[in-house]
């Protein structure tokens, strides 16, 4: 198995520490064992280079949480050592945490590098947040070379499903590192140049010590589809659709959006863009020349009614069933200008992100019930992911021929699958590392190993304006409240008599429907009075926290026996 399993090896290296050659440390703060939240540090003798600052979506058991961002405790303390940040591309899993984290590591002379589109997306997003430092981002392109401290970085174009995506070739004092960024090979992309294998081969000849390669597609057989195939299938749908085409995709899939604009123009359809994030991305892309449309192609939602159905395309967000997104509002008959009709064709040009299956299924059913026809990626190849699959990953490994290999970007099962591929093409098992967030991977010309000491990498949760203030305890309470609700007991104790005054108040939500549970409430009140009176009437000094514990335990037990539910019990005892 791969190196991460071998604790004793770490020990061996630990003992040899004083003698070993100076190491470069690679510290993934996110992106390993998860999809998203990509952020990696390269550190050499007090010089730190940061690659990407992304976020990820929360798990299902994290109600109310908006995003999870990297834990930057380690690098926060080392602010002065940070040379700069390079961004690979403009997807939120690579840039999304910038507005939450940048203030903590910002210095006036902090150097930032991104391609024009990536820069545009980062800066546009900064506008939505208040009190952000003004970011000065240097533009880099395919072929750009920069020097940051001890690191020489060359940027090279990589195909993905957003334009302007850049891989990194980094010369470091211990050797060369190649970071693929997210990528796929595409010989026939739309709105983009095909993969430049000549360039990749040249890089591969430059003695790569360590390869960091995107693992998101490592469990999928074969090669990814070319965008051209997607385009041909989409065209078939647009061509034959009798009425409006309502096509949902990810707001960040700029090239796919361009395809659908071009096809719409070809079949004389006007295009209406619905959804804030899609509109924003198109605005940026139009300015930078990544989206091209004829004059008069775009129309507003309220203008749709002025055109025959067969002359209308709606491009919208909401393919994942996100509450409030355009397609969801249309499906739920909540959209002001758009109601589904019998001849509408709804196209899901997207995959379903794991965790969203049920929501998407319910939305799809709702669309079908309204008489529209539906096309999705399981029926026809109308979506391709942006990530290289097994055969492409092997090809990348063969081109780069690295001495050491560290799979990045993905769930553990993807990292392990990628490690297996590396083994298959002949990389020595000992030179392959499957690592975890927060581990410190030390690298020199001869060795790669994981240090025993980790840096903090726990989840930092964003909820509304709060960053990091929702932790384990708050989340556990939310889960408990969600499951069986809560039950507040308010007992007023007469100071003179030491007995409960009147009938205890009970407030409960999410537990049972109170109006239909009068018997249960009456029995509960009786028990509350008995418990409190017994405890206060003992003659000794009243122990209020004992009374609360008694109420919590005994009333909790009683409610469970009657309902088999465990609401959160919150006792309030007031002495007057």
């Amino acid at each position: 198995m791969f190196k991460k399993q071998s604790r004793f090896k770490e020990d061996k290296y630990k003992h040899s520490y004083p003698k070993r050659a100076p190491c470069l440390h690679l510290i993934p703060l996110g992106g390993l064992g998860e999809v998203g939240r990509n952020m990696t540090l390269l550190e050499y003798k007090h010089q730190i280079l940061i690659i990407d600052v992304g976020f990820r979506m929360p798990e299902e058991n994290m109600p109310g949480i908006d995003y999870i961002i990297p834990n930057i405790e380690y690098v926060k303390k080392r602010k002065k050592d940070i040379l700069g940040i390079v961004f690979t591309h403009g997807h939120y899993d690579h840039i999304g945490a910038v507005p939450y984290l940048i203030e903590h590591i910002f210095r006036k002379d902090l150097k930032l590098f991104a391609s024009p589109l990536t820069k545009g997306i980062i800066l546009k997003r900064q506008e939505e947040f208040s009190r952000q430092p003004k970011l000065n981002i240097n533009e880099v392109r395919d072929g750009s070379k920069i020097k940051l401290g001890c690191f020489n970085i060359e940027f090279f174009k990589q195909n993905h499903n957003i334009p302007d995506n850049l891989g990194l070739f980094i010369e470091t004092p211990v050797g060369n590192i190649l970071h693929t960024s997210d990528f796929k090979f595409d010989k026939n992309p739309i709105n983009d140049l095909p993969t430049n294998f000549k360039k990749l081969n040249q890089l591969g000849k430059r003695n790569i010590l360590l390869l960091l390669s995107d693992s998101t597609g490592a469990e999928q057989e074969g090669s990814s589809l070319s965008e051209k195939e997607i385009s041909e299938n989409l065209e078939k749908i647009f061509k034959t659709a009798p009425g409006r085409v309502i096509a949902a995709t990810f707001a960040s899939l700029i090239n796919r959006i361009q395809q659908m604009i071009t096809i719409s123009e070809k079949y004389k359809r006007k295009v209406c863009i619905e959804g804030y994030s899609m509109r924003t991305n198109i605005d940026i892309s139009k300015i930078l020349g990544y989206v091209k449309a004829k004059k008069g192609t775009f129309i507003k939602a309220k203008e749709i009614k002025n055109y025959p159905d067969s002359r209308v395309t709606v491009l919208c967000t909401g393919a994942q069933g996100e509450t409030g997104a355009a397609l969801m509002r249309i499906a739920n008959r909540d959209h002001r200008f758009l109601k589904l009709k019998k001849n509408d064709t709804v196209v899901f040009s997207s995959s379903v992100i794991p965790g969203n299956e049920r929501t998407v299924q319910i939305m799809k059913d709702e669309i079908l019930r309204q008489g529209a026809r539906v096309y999705h990626y399981k029926m026809m190849d109308i979506h391709a992911g942006g990530h290289a699959k097994k055969e492409e990953l092997k090809k990348m490994l063969k081109i780069m021929k690295p001495k050491f290999f560290l799979p990045i970007h993905g769930q553990h099962s993807m990292l392990f699958a990628h490690a297996e591929l590396a083994k298959e093409i002949g990389i020595n098992e000992k030179n392959i590392i499957v690592a975890e967030n927060g581990q410190v991977i030390s690298l020199n010309k001869k060795n790669i190993f994981i240090e025993k000491k980790k840096v903090p990498s726990s989840y930092i949760m964003v909820d509304g304006l709060g960053v990091g203030d929702v932790g384990e305890i708050v989340l556990r309470d939310r889960q408990m409240l969600a499951k069986d609700g809560m039950f507040v007991i308010i007992a007023i104790v007469d100071r003179q008599t030491g007995r409960v005054k009147g009938s205890p108040d009970i407030i409960s939500r999410g537990f049972v429907y109170l109006r239909e549970s009068k018997g249960l409430l009456r029995d509960t009140r009786k028990r509350v009075i008995k418990i409190v009176n017994k405890a206060t009437g003992s003659g000794r000094a009243v122990n209020w926290s004992y009374i609360k514990d008694e109420l919590r335990n005994k009333i909790g037990g009683f409610l469970f026996s009657r309902t088999q539910r465990r609401p959160m019990i919150l006792p309030v005892v007031i002495e007057v």
Copy 2:
């Protein structure tokens, strides 16, 4: 499009109602537009036949809910008209609601029919519930014929992934109805006879007026895999596994479990069964002869350590990542006798039920991190669903050549896909009905149509001991509590002065971590005092509900402005 879209058609039929020939009414109470909760009524002149009484799993936005069961309001009032219940097979989506509903429709002379295994599973489950009526279930088999009022029912064997599954051929006063039950065609099943096409062809010649056919697989291309292929692939894994094989599957997949027992015996592995539901099912199946094992094959978990790893198989529940199920406990290092080791092979011989993807991914990652190898159905054909796919469904339609067709069992998208298949093989579009739960489908020799009036079919939720007591309001509260938690404000008002006494108490859970939010609490308390004092100090009679509304709105607004969260605000104002 299919009939359900055409409101005017319903109207047309409504107007012709008085003249039309006597109709049979088919009323699906569950199973249409959803997977599970199967229950269908056939009614003819005050004679009601019930087919299946199943439950389904809750949606993701129903925290705390255990199951959803059919709404039987309609049939409850017609208790005396019920002729009997026939059960197609022993899966919980066909029998699971029995213990919750049977008491409401039970009569001493109510006739129940099921195959031996189905009967065994129903009765075993009844034992787990208290106060259940004693059920007298008549055994039926392939070829059995019964007469229930105006219905003559013949049972015929259908292959599925549980033994003893029966389709129904029902002679009714208006014509013959064929109900496929859940099914797939299998020429090489394990532990079961192959599909009897001769018999099916005979049935198909008997003038089928209406076909009700399983739609679960209607969106999947091709034909389902034979269990024999699965078995061969499983054998490869068992044969080459260097250590223990830990194989998880559904507890109800009796035939799959039998396969793995047989393979284990072939490779001299002892078998340990982990998981209550699997053990129960195996116990029943052993008694009835559906599971066969050599003497000494089964061992207990604590005995595993007495055998070499390569001589041990563990068959367990938990392939869906269910909390508390065997595999989850093993993965989380919570199992008393089973810890994962490096040479373990973990097999997921199951698909992932939509909605469980993330949980299963996280569990799989955890298993890989502990060094075991993992096989799942996306890597190798080690699972087949129990449902016919497109080609099989078309074949069934062709064999039965029904005049009318009603796709049953499945999400709307599956029903629509199945309706498309029927159209493809030449059934008149007008004779195909895509219906909804609670609709009354009327049928006579010449027509099939949906009545305008519906019967109740809303979700009845089971939560602990409560059946139907958790409704929309309680669920909405749970969702709200989950999202941003709750915030109880307790203000005590002095009757004499009309002013707040002391500092208001605040109890909050799931909102912010209170210990780190002292400033927020201080500011909130100040506002509470101001709001209450203003309202009580007006000189007029105190309007307590106004004060509570003020607190709810103003404190709610204040907390949102500071956190962008909306906890549930619960104000308590006590006058002393």
